[in-house]
Structure formats: structure tokens, C-alpha cells
Amino acid sequence: MKATDDDPAQAQRTDVPGVASLFRERPLEQLELPSRLVRRSSRRAVLLYGAGAASLVGAGSLLPPATLGGLGLSTNADRTRREWLLNQALRLDDDIAEALYSRDRMVPTYDKAQITPLKNNYNGATPDPSYIAEWSLLLDGLVSGVSLSLNIQSLLARFAVHEQITRLVCVEGWSAIAWWSGLRFGDLLSAYPPVSQAKWARIESSVNLDSAGNRDPYFMSLDLATAGHQQTLLATHFNGRPLTVEHGAPLRLVAPMKLGLKNVKAITRISYTAEEPADYWANRGYSRYDGI
């Protein structure tokens, strides 16, 4: 501990140059402190400060809320500030996810042997399949200025079908490898271009139900940069068969670079917008970008 300049052995050791000196521990520094400072930070003194602070806080919390508010110690403001901080972290995380995303980077694909079971993860109840017979897809926010209604036959007749085996990752922490086929969202965008200012798609399923079985439309925001990725599909088939009601018949989104909750089942409407549209799960405190 006592390293003095007139100790020749010490001086020799610290003067060795080269790589070895990078790893050798340096002798501890000796500080001269006024004894006043040492006395003030004795255990007894610090315990006294602590007791003083605790009694101040204790007495302070007994003051009426109006007084506390006047002193700038309102608990409501604290809550707002905490919310603000948590939302900032979520936004930062979304911005990082967006920076990581590239339209040219392919999502990993798998072999058929690697396919795993995919559970029916309808958040509430599974809708009654009767909607499928009269299903059509409504498109709006198009450059043509008119809304379009497309049925599944015309979609399949008009667009090339692509297939991919990708992993669907759920926010809950599980994932499943599944084989999807359908049309590319990018092909739909080229065939029916959105208005020029559009940066977002609002994707809705009006047939979604809540856990009590009541109508609970599911809506989700998707940035057009992701919609245009060549692995973003509007899927019609799952594991080689037409989609069943559990997996979102007759048309669902498969965007494997997003969390599962963005992969809307039984899409009934796609609207293109310039402003970021509302999102079912973002409204409930989750991320709005959900890039993985």
C-alpha cells in the first residue's frame, strides 16, 4: 500500500516499458484527507443523515396532495414523466429496429423437415367460418382515387404465387416454422399503386372477435418499406393447403421480419395513408414497429 518514490524496487518495477506494463497493477494512491471529512463520513454520521432524510420523507408524505403539488412534488407528474421515459425507450428501440431493417436483406428460410406446429393464436375467439363465402378485400388510398373490392379468385388469377418457409416469432417468446404461399404484397402495390404521399398501410380484419366472442376489429400499421419486401406475402395457403379459419382464411399477412402480432389474419381491408395509422397492440402499450 505504501508506495514511496524513494523505494528503489518500486521505482524499477513501474518503469518497465512494453506490453507487460499494460497488465501490471499500479500501486494504490495515498490521499491526504482532512480528518473532518473522515469524521463526517463515519458510520454513525451517515446513519444519522439517513434517519434525517427518512423522517423528512415520512413527514413530507403526510402533507395534503394539494400542498405537495404546489411544492412541485405531485405524484401525478411523476407518473406522467415515468410514462414519458418508458415511451421514449420504446421509440428508441423502434428506431433501432427500423435502422436494422433492410429491404434487401433476406429473412432466413428453412427446409420442409424443419417445419414445426403452429397453434391457433386468435387472441379472442376464433371467428365463425361463414364470413369466408362472402369475403372480399377492400383497397383504398389508391392513386386512382377509387376504392377497389377484390375477391380471392381474382387475386389468385392475377398474381403469381410464391412460397416460403419462414419462422413466425411471437412477442410472447414462442416461434414456429411454417410453409406459406401466396402473392407478394409488393406485387399488389405495383398493380394498384397507393397515393404518392402514402408511407403506411393500415391492415384491418373486421371479422376478429374478442375473448367474449363479440366483434373486435383488429387493425395494424405496416410501413410500406416492409410491405414491399419480397418476403412479405399476402398468404392464401399454409403448409400446402388453403388457409383454414384458424390461420386466417382466405388471405392473411405473412411478414416474417415483424412480430407475429403484425401478421394479420383474415384481412378485409388495406388502406394506404401518409400518416402512421393506429395499431391495435401499440394502443395497448406495445411497440408500433415490431421489427425483429
Partner: protein
Amino acid sequence: MRLSHWLNVPLLIGLVLSGMSIYWAAPVFQHQADPRTGLFDPLADVGVWLCAHVPGMHGYASPPDWVYNHLSLGPGLLGPALRIHWLCAYLFMLNGLVYAVGSVAGGGYRSLLPRTTDIRDALSMLRFYVGIPFAKLTRRPWPHPQFDTKYNALQRAAYFSVPLIAFLSVVTGWALHKPVQLHWLVALFGGYDTARILHFSLMCAYAPFLIPHLVLVLAAGWDTLRSMIVGWSAETPEAKE
């Protein structure tokens, strides 16, 4: 550096509590549903066992939730838990960066590097710790082994491996968070589910450090705890209370 050390306390508490609420939602850790109870979550089993076997806990309203009500934000709070986890994780990474820069710039890393004499010294420290209770019982003097380094070999091993565990926690966390864009990272850890299990195991790996760390700091006395805050330790006779 000292500030960065103390910041870890609230950050790790936040990360562990929110992490347990995220664990609540993850089926990766679950087993087949128990035919009697219908439960599939190992931590729910722990709660049920505790409430059945620990006196004074028999009346607990919801035994499967006991662990989550006491060691997490609570069950069914995935959304809030994720937001807290991200906030604490970004601050934790920033803090780790400050720690890394600080220990290089200040040269503090030198005290943490493993040495060739560490195994022998660690054994003599272990012998010292094991012997303490016997020495106290027989009232024999039991001197602390002397070293000319800042930390003894056991401390060095602990203070060297904990930043490593922290680093791995962060990296496995990123593998779980961005499994598509960072798919090479997922592959490095042996797959998506394996990375999650690793991330959880790394959290558990803090415990064998933390418990002796707290016990020994308290046992070492006020001068040590104060030195962790102010950065100096006293040698004057009046400081020895």
C-alpha cells in the same frame, strides 16, 4: 466508475423483475400440463409447492401466481414488462459502456485480470472462509491471507467474470430481440429457444456472485462500504470505530 457500479442496482432489479414477467408469457420453459392441477409453468409449480409446504403461506389466494406476485411485476403484464425491460436494458448497455471506457481509461482493469498465482491464492482464501466459523467457535486467531494486490484471487475471479456475464446477457438479449436481422447471432447461441434459455440462465448466474458479494461487503465493515461510494479507504486510527 463507482456511479456506474451503483447504477447497476436499480437497473438489474428492473431487468430481473420485468424479465420474470416476460418469462411468464414464454412457453419455451413450460412442461406438459400436470394432469392433476392443469399447470404447465415450472414457476407456478414452485408457487404451489411453497404455499403447500411453508408455514404461514397456506392461506395464499393464488398459489400459482406467488412467484410472479413477489419476484416479477406480476402475471399477465407482458406489455408494461417489455417497456421496462427495454428502458433498463438500454441504460444497462450505456452503463456497461461507461464501465468499459472508465476501466480502460483509469487503468482499473489491471486489478481484475487473472494471474498465474490465482488458483493457489483462491484456495488459501477458500480455506480462510471455511475456517472462519470454527475459528470463531474455538476463539482462535484466524488471520486473513495477505496479498499485495488490490483484490484477492476470489474477488478477482468474480469481478472479472461478472462483466463477462453481463456482456453475454446483453448479446443473448439482442439475439432474442432481433432474431431475423441478427440471425447469425441466434445461430451462434444454438437457436432461438436455446438463446432464450441461455439468457435466463445468465440471469441466474448473477446470484452466486450477488449473495456472497452482499454478505462479504457487509461483513467487511463500514470502511469497505464507504470506499465503494467515495473511492478512498481510511487508515487513520480515528476512522476505525
